[in-house]
Symmetry: C3
Subunit: 220 residues, 3 copies
């Protein structure tokens, strides 16, 4: 009995740690882009916050769901502020490219976790499967989209031809399938997050790019 | 009796067909802009979806109204996906300019229908007349605005000096007037949508442009 | 008794006038940016409206609070339209720079008032202190952010290195402190708005800039 409790506690602790790492990876992606664009301290904090919490917040606005994650766990706002101030104090130019490359893997984990979590939330609210999948993708991808829009870039998720949202899309359908097969929430979460993360990792390893559309025509 | 039913059925069928054509025209406007900006397959689907459903969704968020059109009729999300994949498979560069010109007319119909529908929804929720008009314009115009923002352009509705939102504005006031005069919903819809569509068509035919503001000054 | 009533009436009138001046300053900031970007008449009205009402509307969407200010006081939409049409008729190029400089002071007042009001609204809804502060900053700053995003600029609040959002942040904490000290709403409002406004005014007078982040690296 006690052994089970300890295992559950360890598992739940592990999940909290993994989620924290993934959220920090998302925040750092915003911080790096803001630094690259030479934003000031305010801009860095806002863009990091948008990258970390923007996707989930947009999902909750669309689903009319409250409280937001960062309202329920307001401590995270302080953690974000501390992260940004720490980065501004201790990061140097030569750290930027290194950090970006190092962040690819926790970012892939975040892609999986946010997808599975977002899809499950929508399914629990009895949304149709395709809508739940869309909500999972929005949770995982639209933080980065908002980050890029504020930084005056076309969102990289929409134009870099490397599978990102597609991996999230596949993972979201695994969540739906797990629900149909009546698997437990935690098994469904692991399968779905694993699918999205591994697909993304495979895309990074192999350098695979989406087939380009031939009909491009001249850019305006 | 049976003749009336048949007529009503035909009318309601006609409305569904017209609405579908208008929505597809809006989606294609997003698809074409995404192709011009050389977005990847994910970007093309997202921008097409924003152009088609973004205006109505923003209206519903502002009015705190659920479910969204694309949640209630989730089949449309599949239709959108099929449209985008079909376009990516079959459209060639030389089709782009042709499609854009051909879309002007269904787009004008969409402008009218979305305006009248959006205004009516707000009036049914007892919003003040000027707010209902604003909601009609947002429904018709802000899909294109979101499309342009994601594609990193100043929204064309705000800068091309050709009447677009203004036609929608006029049509929305016709909806309000029809409500005041206690005309039936369907007559009001036809009058309002017709006004906006015909004004837009007249603007396209005559090449009329809004008077430019003399105070421009040098662009930053 | 009558003297007290007169005083209260005068005070409340003074508040209405100050709020109106501040809102108009925000609207003019949008109008000027739209004119600089050579938007058409529709774009000028939309961008002015976003700058004036966008921050409060975003706060209300996040807090799930209705009706919006501009729905409850729909007369303001007419006032905004009149302001834009008047500016288009009577402003000339040479007025633009003058107006921009003259608007700095009412804009600082708006920063203070919007911050204090937005924070108080969130506190009244039992939000945690840090969330209420964030809502105050969003109310004061995100109108300008939306204005800049629509005009295809990186938001100036995030990149011009002059204290703006930070002044709002400080003022918002004063509102929280006033609530903790159980000061009356109006005293808290005056203290908080005064703090943000005076800090902003001091920043403008001294030309102080936020310390730049050394880690910038080359801009993409």
């Amino acid at each position: 009995m006690s052994a089970i409790k300890t295992t559950l506690f360890t598992l739940s602790n592990a999940q909290v740690v993994i989620e924290a790492v993934a959220t920090i990876a998302f925040a750092l992606s915003g911080l790096l882009e803001a630094a690259r664009k030479r934003l000031d301290a305010v801009g860095i904090c806002v863009v990091a916050g948008l990258a970390a919490f923007g996707g989930g917040t947009l999902r909750d606005v669309l689903l009319d769901r409250r409280p937001f994650f960062w309202v329920e766990h307001a401590l995270w706002l302080w953690a974000l502020l501390a992260l940004c101030i720490g980065a501004m104090l201790f990061m140097r130019s030569r750290h930027l490219a290194v950090t970006e490359r190092a962040m690819q893997w926790p970012d892939a984990i975040g892609l999986g976790l946010f997808t599975a979590g977002g899809t499950q939330i929508a399914l629990d609210m009895q949304q149709p499967a395709v809508v739940a999948v869309l909500m999972g993708v929005i949770t995982a991808v639209f933080g980065g989209v908002l980050r890029d829009i504020v930084c005056n870039e076309i969102p990289s998720a929409f134009r870099d031809h490397r599978p990102y949202a597609i991996c999230s899309f596949a993972g979201a359908w695994v969540t739906v399938a797990a629900q149909q097969l009546e698997l437990s929430h935690s098994i469904g979460l692991v399968l779905a997050a694993g699918t999205a993360t591994l697909l993304r990792a495979a895309a990074l390893w192999t350098g695979y790019t989406l087939p380009s559309w031939q009909a491009g025509g001249p850019e305006r």
